[in-house]
């Protein structure tokens, strides 16, 4: 089974308006797929449909039919754009909720579960906050806690809706590095990102959406150098490849400075 998702036809509509419609797509296993596109392009709708939360999706996820009654629980972990709920949980307890698929309703967490939570706390640099109340965390800390909770789940697929929200530059990059590391272990990660530079430097594959349609897809160099990128965002964007190896891409979106830099790149 080389593909995580095999999407035959996917449509999300609300109140008679089609938000996203696409079809005939696959997402290989062990890839980091990033959905990019302007506001209202349908990125979140697509992500929700891929999880089975919204719309109609005909296809298969890890070989199981989607859209039917037998929704593949436990196959994916999910990080929402905004998480609701003001619960009196400590950060450690909150992360332990991620073990819910493994624990069921009644089993108490054992040493292995606690170890898994401690690992995820270390990855997201939450260890000093372990005893804090989730509701007292700052926006960025709360976001890191939500990501750590999804990590603890150890699901084969992970879906994240704008996970870099509220994160500082260090944690944005640490997050992407860790997601990349997960794909190395055969997990499939799909996330929505607004930060094109972050997307360019870490993604295996980019899907560019605009007006509910998939405008362009491919590796970061393919998508970033395509003229459709600037057109989709309706803003002059130029991607500049770094000079040396490992220098990565930088995104230039200043209309004045853009032309000069692009000439050099």
């Amino acid at each position: 089974m080389a593909n995580a998702w095999e999407i035959e036809q996917l449509t999300v509509s609300a109140q008679g308006r089609t938000l996203v419609s696409l079809g005939g797509l696959t997402v290989p296993r062990g890839q980091l797929l990033v959905l990019i596109g302007p506001n209202g392009a349908g990125k979140s709708s697509l992500l929700r449909a891929m999880a089975g939360f919204a719309g109609q999706c005909r296809g298969r996820l890890l070989g199981r039919a989607m859209g039917g009654k037998g929704y593949p629980y436990g196959l994916l972990s999910w990080v929402a754009q905004h998480e609701t709920g003001d619960s009196p949980l400590s950060v450690a307890d909150y992360l332990m909720l991620g073990r819910r698929p493994a624990l069921g309703l009644l089993r108490l967490p054992d040493a292995a579960d606690h170890r898994r939570v401690a690992e995820a706390m270390q990855v997201m640099e939450l260890t000093p906050l372990a005893a804090q109340r989730v509701s007292r965390l700052s926006g960025g800390e709360r976001q890191r806690a939500a990501i750590a909770r999804a990590l603890v789940q150890d699901a084969p697929c992970m879906l994240l809706d704008e996970p870099s929200n509220h994160l500082d530059i260090r944690h944005q990059n640490l997050l992407m590095q860790h997601l990349k590391q997960l794909t190395g272990q055969g997990r499939t990660v799909v996330c929505v990102l607004h930060d094109l530079q972050l997307a360019a430097n870490h993604a295996d594959q980019l899907w560019l959406l605009a007006d509910g349609v998939l405008r362009c897809r491919g590796t970061p160099p393919e998508v970033l150098t395509h003229p459709v990128l600037a057109e989709a965002y309706r803003w002059p964007i130029q991607a500049v490849a770094g000079a040396g190896a490992g220098q990565g891409w930088s995104i230039v979106s200043n209309p004045q400075a853009g032309s000069g830099m692009a000439a050099r790149g």
Partner: protein, 331 residues
């Protein structure tokens, strides 16, 4: 910094956690013993053979404990279900349905049904109606809240209409019941509610972990393997069993179910299951104190517990909230 160390030493060294928990049952027993002896504005060592103690005070105390515990447990569960700290066991129409059942029986004179049974059946059937409607309309959590409020309002209108049309004696009896009094507690009256309440408590506590997940949003919960719709229905049923039983024993008592879980959540950090367990003993003792206050404060008038709760609750909660706000800002 030094304050933190002092606090740690106090909670860790001199008065460790285990001791706090070991102290609790004897303290609760002492409280119950003191209240057993209290009557007519004075206190005497409780005499177990005195029918006043064994037939009146003892069942009243047990009912207060049971009702307070059930309402608080139901409130703690529903606050997670509705993702709203202001949620109250009354939100699912159980109390309104019980009121309708009772007033119906009182106004129409008997029908061969006792008042507690009418309360019980009325409460549970109205909650079932709400759940059924929500299932048909696929309303989700917001729909459940809205349908609950709407149906409760309908029941309230029917109660008002029936009271308007009935005579003074019925009105007096109904208003006594609606105010929520524990004065007429007897052992034998309503033993059928005990197992139902127990089942409700077990069900609600069993759902604890899923309620924690549900608090984070339907989609997050679903991704964690929670069967969202089923959990919502089961939690609502458990709350209805607890509230229905409580209302049957005591009539309508507000505030406890909303206030106690919030007070516990302010002081205690932990899972929903722990919160529900703590809320249930805190609520039991709180209602016992409230009822005793109503019984003795303005003796010989026996104030209904529902009235005292409505008076005593808000100031207590404001104080607690203020204290924690202050603590949060300082630390």
């Amino acid at each position: 910094m030094s304050a933190t160390i002092v606090l740690q030493r106090r909670s860790g060294g001199l008065f460790p956690r285990v001791w706090r928990w070991l102290c609790l049952p004897p303290l609760a027993a002492l409280l119950i013993w003191l209240i057993l002896g209290l009557g007519g504005g004075q206190w005497a060592v409780p005499d177990w053979h005195d029918p006043l103690v064994s037939r009146l005070r003892w069942p009243r105390i047990l009912n207060a404990l049971l009702v307070g515990s059930a309402l608080s447990l139901a409130g703690a569960g529903l606050q997670a279900l509705f993702r709203n700290p202001l949620a109250d066991p009354g939100l699912l129409g159980t109390s309104a349905g019980s009121a309708l059942g009772v007033v119906l029986v009182m106004a129409l004179g008997g029908l061969g049904v006792s008042v507690p049974l009418a309360a019980f059946v009325g409460g549970l059937s109205v909650t079932l109606l709400i759940l059924l409607l929500n299932q048909l309309l696929r309303g989700g959590q917001a729909g459940l809240l809205m349908i609950g409020v709407v149906i409760a309002a309908c029941c309230g209108a029917l109660v008002s209409l029936l009271l308007f049309l009935s005579d003074d004696l019925t009105l007096r009896g109904a208003s006594n019941w609606l105010a929520g009094s524990l004065a007429e507690s007897r052992f034998a009256d309503h033993q059928y509610v005990w197992p139902v309440m127990l089942a409700g408590a077990v069900l609600m506590l069993g759902l604890g972990r899923d309620l924690d997940c549900l608090l984070l949003g339907d989609e997050v919960a679903r991704s964690m393997g929670v069967k969202v719709g089923r959990t919502r229905v089961l939690a609502a049923m458990a709350a209805a069993m607890l509230t229905g039983g409580a209302v049957t024993l005591s009539g309508l008592i507000g505030f406890i179910g909303m206030m106690v879980p919030n007070a516990v959540a302010l002081c205690h950090q932990g899972s929903r299951r722990q919160l529900m367990l703590h809320a249930s003993w805190v609520g039991a003792l709180a209602l016992l104190l409230i009822d005793t206050l109503g019984r003795e404060a303005v003796y010989p008038v026996d104030l209904p517990a529902g009235v005292v709760a409505a008076f005593a609750g808000p100031p207590c909660f404001l104080w607690l909230f203020w204290r924690l706000q202050k603590g949060g800002a300082g630390g």
